[in-house]
Symmetry: C2
């Protein structure tokens, strides 16, 4: 429990303190505290699962009372919704940036992959990937599914653009987008921020694998060994 509390505070503020702990009044105080509640919820859902987490747990993790949590969000369902949003928004932004910048579609897709990997490696990854949208009411579920679909369509668009500009080989954009998203989403199942690899190193490894696949790269093929023999 103490560990959880300590972790919940890490990252909530650059100096690692809870936004409730400081003496100074800051601008955007309400917003910072609301963000800390959402971030603590994400961590609690991640650790215990959505159905095994109560607002009491989240309040305890933050060192505040339950009414304080209710001041920022209506209920647990809204917290889950906000966690989904917090994770999906940066991916949507990475796609928007990719559509505006130059370069081949493959280069732009690689940037999206990096943004996507970072979002999934964040504390919101669990909610984005492992939480069930059945736990959201119809309106919230509709909004989240629309966002997910927008991201899926954006990746398919980049794959098609890559086939057009010659930077991506012939592929089925739908299946390939699912394969990319699946590999990336799965990061939420295995990645922990305290492990040896940084999120950036994971993203680089993924970009390399997605680009080249499993076959030995042409330059690495030992002389005399033809592609047919591998």
């Amino acid at each position: 429990m103490n560990q959880t509390r300590r972790r919940a505070k890490i990252g909530a503020e650059p100096d690692g303190t809870s936004p409730w702990a400081g003496r100074r009044r800051r601008p955007r105080d309400h917003e910072l505290k609301r963000d800390a509640v959402i971030r603590a919820a994400a961590r609690a859902f991640n650790e215990r699962g959505y159905h095994h987490t109560s607002l009491d747990h989240i309040a305890a993790d933050l060192g505040v009372t339950k009414p304080t949590v209710y001041y920022y969000v209506a209920n647990k369902e809204q917290l889950l919704f906000e966690c989904f949003l917090a994770g999906l928004t940066p991916i949507r932004q990475a796609l928007g940036d990719a559509e505006r910048r130059g370069g081949t579609a493959r280069d732009r897709l690689n940037e999206v992959i990096r943004g996507y990997a970072a979002a999934i490696a964040s504390e919101y990854g669990w909610c984005m990937v492992r939480a069930h949208d059945q736990d959201l009411g119809p309106e919230m579920r509709h909004q989240i599914n629309a966002l997910k679909s927008e991201i899926d369509q954006g990746i398919r668009r980049l794959l098609r653009a890559g086939m057009d500009d010659g930077s991506i080989g012939s592929c089925d954009p739908k299946i390939t987008a699912f394969a990319l998203a699946g590999a990336l989403n799965w990061i939420a199942h295995w990645y922990r921020a305290d492990q040896a690899l940084s999120a950036t190193e994971v993203a680089d490894a993924f970009v390399g694998f997605f680009e080249h696949g499993l076959r030995p790269r042409a330059r690495a093929t030992p002389p005399g060994r033809s592609e047919r023999n591998t």
Copy 2:
């Protein structure tokens, strides 16, 4: 061990009828009915989510009474455990087969990928991928995690064997195994048996993507376009 043997028989009702509907007594009747209960549970969890499914739902789906369901399994947790087992067992078998057969490690890995894709596209995919192992007690969770880890280690072993025999390019086996498993596991999120693509076609598309990645394949590069320009 009996559990494993039983799993292989799931699917014994190719006509889709309930084993309770028939008039004839068959050998292995108990086993067939138990498998039907597990299969119905998998479908119900898939449709409603584990926490929103009761044994009443499963009994109603099968057209039997709740005590009939209790005759085959102790409780909902055991049903979830059996669903995990039913999905993971064929992947484990595919890995065992791959270790025994000849060919390059990449060919053998491709066969594992096909078996993996088929298992995830089955009705057990949802449980294997989307159910939370927190919903299982410690002993069952331990068994499922041991099976998952065995599969992960088997894939890493094939990747290392491929780097040794020259059929797979230099890669980080851990990250690459996670990327492969993630893309495959994600099939449970989007694949429905009634859609245009068969599970085999999905598996083929995945094998192609994993082998070659996104870059245009050498032969498909238009004349005069160098790799550097793509």
